[in-house]
Symmetry: C3
Subunit: 366 residues, 3 copies
């Protein structure tokens, strides 16, 4: 079965150095204690177990051997090997994070028969229009930019979890509130502050404007890097906004969710417009990921769960996301089939729903 | 082994239509996305796996076939088949939720040799006396109604988790506080508001009056429908009240608890008067429920865990609760016996404690 | 493989009575309901399964037989049997809790070839200098006592989770704030209050002074007795302080962590100076502990996880901590090796890292 990876980023534009690569296989933003390597992690072990053979090495090859083999090949060749092996038909690519280090979207699929679509990050779009805006025009400038973008994208993404937290409140801010917040923010920018929106009024404006488009709205949820306060990324805290936004018709896509994936499953069951995945966590929990995948199959209806890798940069991550998800699903579903709890036909159908059909339905890909 | 189901509701008084049935097998209160069915869930799959054969169908029969077979029989016959197969000796029935759609208690056991006892919902009782009360008399009227009811019931139930949250504070409100809150509430009722108590002072009054009876007090905990704020239903938030109420001698029965069942296990270990079950979650996690059952057996002493289904309406739920709990317990306990961690005799004894003896002791059923 | 138990307490100085023993195998501070025994728990079953044979009984011997065999031997002989069987090379002993009931450190290793080092509890040290201090001198008196102690200890411990909670804020208090808090506290002590520090300013002062030593700083995290508010012991709440303290170079050792061990794993991944263990929880979850151990191996790098028992008192706990950890690790690692996810050599290496090498590195034991 070929997959739709509904939340992913592009691959590295060039071979990284070893130190950079190590930081791309952890959510830490700086090295670990002296003498340690990020390869000594579930993700590092998964790379050595599953990626090494695609480079002609034995499974579990030492990290140094892996590194030598990987850097002996052009980055494009490495990417082609791993992306091809991922078995993904369609990549829905969030373009909002450090895109200058990555392949542009039109080169992501290489010569392979894969589709690539864009997911637009709301915060990045606002930041891109800030330079030319005034407090009076910021919202309309943003709205115009969003309207212009909509025909070219498949969905939207918000990182409000990073920029503030899910305790942001449910209300659509009034134009006056937005104007006041815009004035504060633009004044900061004039002093030379980097264009990084973190004002809760502006962030709520983005969530509502995004929902107004009716496109699926992806939300970073749970685990990520040290820049977020994880206890404020519990999706339960967002329930008031989730309730409020339902009439817009936008699907709310809770991404990653670990370690709050059971909470996300609750939301996906009780709210018709809520969906979830456990991307990112699957890669980072490696050999232990079957437990996480199984937990994602508890409360959420099978029509509300999707596959994603959340890979960014090393194409190993695009491949491992798919491989580990397949293995985790196979483990859970075959266990249930053998126990007489599920039929084989249902297992195949649910794997297809989660692996691609739900994404095709929600993002209107077919 | 026959069970005591210490928290359950009655079964449907009449065959539902398909749309109604679908909403009775989810905690959502409205349909999912167009083209989806609630049968595509762990609970739906469990119905097809385990209930279909009791209606003469193959295991995993399609949902439409299941529906045809189910509705070809009178509801009483369906209920008799499933309740009989549940192997339950004694149903402790919470009568406080939409009882008009359900069989009255005196008809629940059909002609079978099963006992039925009542669990009285505190909020419903207060709402039932509100019409004839004044701010001055509300508490005494309630207290009188409770005193009158006590000889006829086995325990009490509170849904403070739904009506406010477990962050309600520990203190018994003073008569003056109750009178003031009663005045506010009764004034609302005079304007035509439905009799639905959500004032935290009145809710705390109910918790304390309930505990004063010395009867076991069941508390909805954790997962439920979209009407609750799940992060405010973590039983850890109730710890101050749990400590304060200990001298009354009332047992505090934490119901369901998912996804906070590990937190509930902590409370059951450190507080002598705290008990827990994982009802509701077992049905809704279906094939994945053995994991939830095993997690409920971590910290809580085996004398502090009970069985419940929390079934409401479709008798499938009364049956599946028992079946899935038996399977989950058998899986965990046999794993531990095979590993040499438990003796077989201990496994049987613990299953009996949780399946019935703990309930018999706490509710004085013997 | 012999272990380093990086957080443990000493063993009982004398044979306890049965009631005392029962309270030492639970985190409850008073007996359970009438007619129940603390042996009916995962820990009780683990004692009967694994400790009974070391006393010449069959595995799973009844609790009364166990008790008879245990009390027929001098406590020293019991301790020698269990500590020897634990296979621990080095005990890092927190001396801050009820030490008068325990063997002094110089007798803990008996005649066996085991090293014993001290971990000093910050709150106890402050309480010990309070009697001779004034508001003006308390901090300097404490600092002097700490400086005097540092050459004789391997690390520090804080129970801020018990005394306040992890929502204590990140800032190092100013000398003026400390002096004001000291004045309030010492005034209380003069009225005869027991010397038990719970003022958040003083507790934060301890955390910062402790970190300033550069020694590893152990923090009670998560599950413990009824004296703590568990939802305030989630290590995520401590993240602001964890970030702030990083420049001191002190390692932050999150102890126990259950049920927040996944949260602790996140912190251990993203912060170079954060480490974790699942001690205490392993003993108390007994046969179910392999699940907890496996969950501790999800996000945390393998260089950031340690072994501890957190045993206090009965030497059964020192033994079971080691035994159950070994079994849990063996279960997880052999599953991953059999699945082709890990190599056997890596499994051995990771077990060694967690079982001893990480502790040797962080505490500079080699």
């Amino acid at each position: 079965m070929r997959l739709v990876d509904h939340h992913v980023h592009s691959t590295l534009a060039a071979t990284p150095d070893r130190a950079t690569f190590e930081l791309l296989i952890t959510e830490a933003d700086r090295p670990g204690p002296a003498g340690t390597t990020q390869f000594d992690s579930q993700l590092g072990f998964a790379i050595r177990a599953h990626c090494a053979p695609l480079l002609g090495l034995d499974a579990h090859a030492p990290a140094d051997d892996y590194w030598a083999a990987r850097t002996a090949r052009p980055e494009e060749e490495v990417a082609d090997a791993f992306l091809r092996a991922a078995g993904v038909d369609h990549w829905l690519v969030d373009t909002g994070f450090k895109g200058d280090l990555l392949l542009p979207l039109d080169r992501l699929s290489g010569g392979r028969d894969e589709q690539v679509s864009e997911i637009l990050r709301l915060e990045s779009l606002l930041e891109s229009v800030a330079a030319g805006a005034t407090a009076q025009t910021l919202m309309t400038d943003f709205r115009q930019a969003l309207t212009d973008a909509v025909p070219h994208i498949r969905g939207l993404k918000s990182i409000v979890a990073y920029r503030y937290g899910f305790d942001i409140g449910p209300d659509r801010p009034s134009p006056r509130e937005v104007q006041e917040a815009a004035a504060r923010w633009l004044a900061e920018l004039e002093t030379g502050a980097p264009a990084r929106v973190s004002d809760p009024v502006l962030l709520r404006m983005l969530l509502w404007e995004g929902a107004d488009t009716g496109l699926p709205l992806q939300l970073h949820t749970g685990y990520g890097d040290a820049d977020l306060e994880l206890h404020r990324c519990d999706p339960l805290l967002l329930a008031p906004w989730i309730k409020a936004v339902e009439p817009t018709g936008a699907a709310v896509m809770l991404l990653h969710c670990y370690p709050f994936h059971r909470n996300a499953g609750f939301l996906a069951q009780v709210f018709p417009h809520v969906y979830l995945d456990v991307g990112l966590a699957v890669n980072h929990t490696g050999a232990a990921s079957p437990g996480v995948v199984a937990e994602s199959l508890e409360l959420a209806p099978f029509t509300k769960i999707l596959y994603s890798s959340d890979a960014w940069g090393p194409p190993e991550l695009h491949y491992l996301g798919a491989l580990l998800w397949r293995k985790g699903m196979a483990a859970a579903l075959s266990r249930w089939v053998h126990a007489g709890e599920w039929s084989t036909a249902d297992a195949v159908r649910v794997a297809t729903l989660i692996g691609r059909s739900n994404a095709e339905r929600v993002y209107r890909l077919a």
